[in-house]
Amino acid sequence: MSIALLLEQILNGLQLGVMLFLMAAGLTLIFGVMGLINLAHGSLYMVGAFACATVAAWTGSFWLGLVASLVAAAAAGAIVEMTVIRRLYDRDHLDQVLATFALILIFSEGTRWVFGSLPLYLNIPDLLRGTIPLPGGGRYQIYRIAIIAVGVAVAVGLWLLIARTRLGMRIRAGESDREMIAALGIDIRTLYTVVFAIGAALAGLAGAMVGALQSVQVGMGEPVLILAFVVIVIGGIGSIKGALVGAVLVGLIDTMGRFLLPRAFSVFMDPSEASLIGSAIASMLIYMFMALVLAFRPRGLFATAK
């Protein structure tokens, strides 16, 4: 194994982590800040990807597609918030799980209705096409580096928004006592719609960016959603910092596990066997990691004050 490969894998881990962060940030905002479990977050990711693919195919411009993904996901988020989510804030987690589970069914089947079952495809914009050399002789895709950069920028921006602005304070205040913040003169309903739309837009952005790497298809959001949940639970629900740390950890552990475990096992068993067992364990690795974290810190690494 060369240094170049190791470096590449670290970047892969980071890129996966950052992508998860975009999902997790929206989730943790909605989830921690409004106290709502939104299983349908993955659907917003899908909406973003579909919007981007459709508009990019229409206009020929990825960038317009990207804008469309933000707009479409935010709009979908706002509509969902106003029609459904709004009624769920005072409910227990159970109702929220069920209602947003229902939303997944509606979104997935609805999208299939409109776009059919075949995957759409979306190309990387010319500007970001190609690879750059890495020290040690490897190469890395420019587009993936761009994803890392966007993720880091979003992380900083969000953290500032929540921790440093009055908007952030109000959002957090609303989480602990909606009624009270309203009684002090803050229009918490609109505020929540806005926050939900922001979270949705982030998911849509992630969907669009990933859509150019993978295929855009119905159901693409679900695996990412579960990973994003793992991320925020590891990081501590409601904490943007936790989401970032959790996402990067999960990204690195998953990538390194899938890469290194089969190699490690092949030291003492048949390579084919080692690859099978190694990849089986690698697929469970982040869940084991999460269980481990929660066993020692039942509220995640960066639990927010309650």
Binding site: V97, L103, E109, I226, M284, Y287, M290
Partner: protein, 328 residues
């Protein structure tokens, strides 16, 4: 003795479920017997979950793990009985079997052990963390089953001939329905007893106010863990029955969709209500069947229906029919 409304609703539900296969046979549509058996088994699984979720407030998003493990116990034992080779645990060997009672006991024990292990770690967390950690453990079992080649991996494992129950012919759909129905009723009796017992009182109090339970000197976590294990056992038993119904087990029994479905059943029927899971399972299987027969887009409409139930009909079907629950 006067009956309250909930008792009447409960008896009606039990009779209705019993009536479906009998009417089906009259109409010469034996498939509805299978459908009713499915209802009974899913209801049983949800009764298990209802113990943890409804009474104990532990929203487990990973009960598919016990369901699937129960199913795999049935599948693996039957597989070995069929092939004649014993299960090899290295130090000792265990023969397979196709006797349902033995399979059930093993399924209950194994899923109970798994629930003990998962519960012991998960119960330290609460709220959303609990939901997610149970999901994570279930995902682990899912990925394990998926990539473990010995018993078929993702392809799953077939049970070529349905397992046996002494004295009856389980291959007859109606007989198998009666077996599942009887087990469901037994589980309901157990649920009711637990709910009304001292253990149930402590469990329900722990859901409402953990601090209070601790300050009267009861260790809430031990109570919860015990409930979680019993809950896993019941769901595990349901899994074994389900395997025999389909004559097949696969990792999809362990998937998070399955866990979600159990939660759906309970909410549809009524959380913490004795017959909530029964009502929920009947409703759900019927929706799935009717909608699935009408349109390929049935999931879309199922979504709308579920959404409607959560937003408009709180308390589920039993809550709607029998009014709010009372706690003496």
């Amino acid at each position: 003795m006067t009956m309250n409304r909930e008792t009447i609703v409960n008896i009606s539900l039990a009779l209705l479920l019993l009536a479906i296969p009998l009417i089906a046979l009259q109409l010469n549509s034996p498939f509805y017997v299978t459908l009713a058996t499915r209802m009974a088994i899913l209801a049983l699984a949800a009764v298990g979950l209802n113990l943890a979720l409804g009474l104990g407030g532990m929203v487990s998003f990973g009960h598919a793990a016990y369901f699937g493990v129960g199913g795999y116990v049935a599948g693996i034992l039957a597989h070995h009985a069929f092939s004649g080779l014993p299960l090899d645990f290295g130090l000792f060997q265990v023969p397979g079997t196709n006797m349902m009672p033995i399979i059930w006991v093993v399924a209950i024990l194994v899923s109970g052990l798994l629930a003990l292990f998962i519960g012991a770690i998960s119960i330290r967390t609460s709220g959303v963390y609990f939901i997610m950690i149970t999901l994570a453990f279930a995902q682990m079992t899912y990925y394990f089953a998926n990539s473990w080649p010995a018993y078929g991996g993702e392809d799953g494992l077939s049970i070529f001939v349905r397992n046996q129950f002494p004295g009856v012919n389980t291959l007859r759909p109606l007989t198998y329905f009666f077996i599942c129905y009887a087990i469901l009723l037994a589980a309901l009796v157990l649920f009711a007893a637990i709910r009304d017992s001292r253990f149930g009182a402590a469990l329900q109090a722990a859901r409402q106010n953990e601090v209070r339970v601790a300050t009267v000197g009861i260790n809430a976590n031990r109570i919860r863990l015990a409930a979680f294990v019993i809950s896993g056992m019941i769901t595990g038993l349901a899994g074994a029955l389900y395997a025999d119904l389909n004559r097949f087990v696969s990792p999809s029994m362990l998937s998070w969709h399955m866990s979600g479905e159990f939660i759906v059943l309970i909410i549809l029927g009524g959380v913490a209500r004795l017959y909530g899971p029964v009502a929920g399972a009947m409703l759900f299987v019927m929706f799935e069947f009717l909608l699935g027969g009408m349109t390929d887009r049935w999931q879309f409409f199922l979504g709308l229906v579920l959404l409607g139930v959560v937003l408009l009909a709180r308390g589920g079907l039993v809550g709607w029919l029998a009014g709010r629950a009372r706690h003496g």
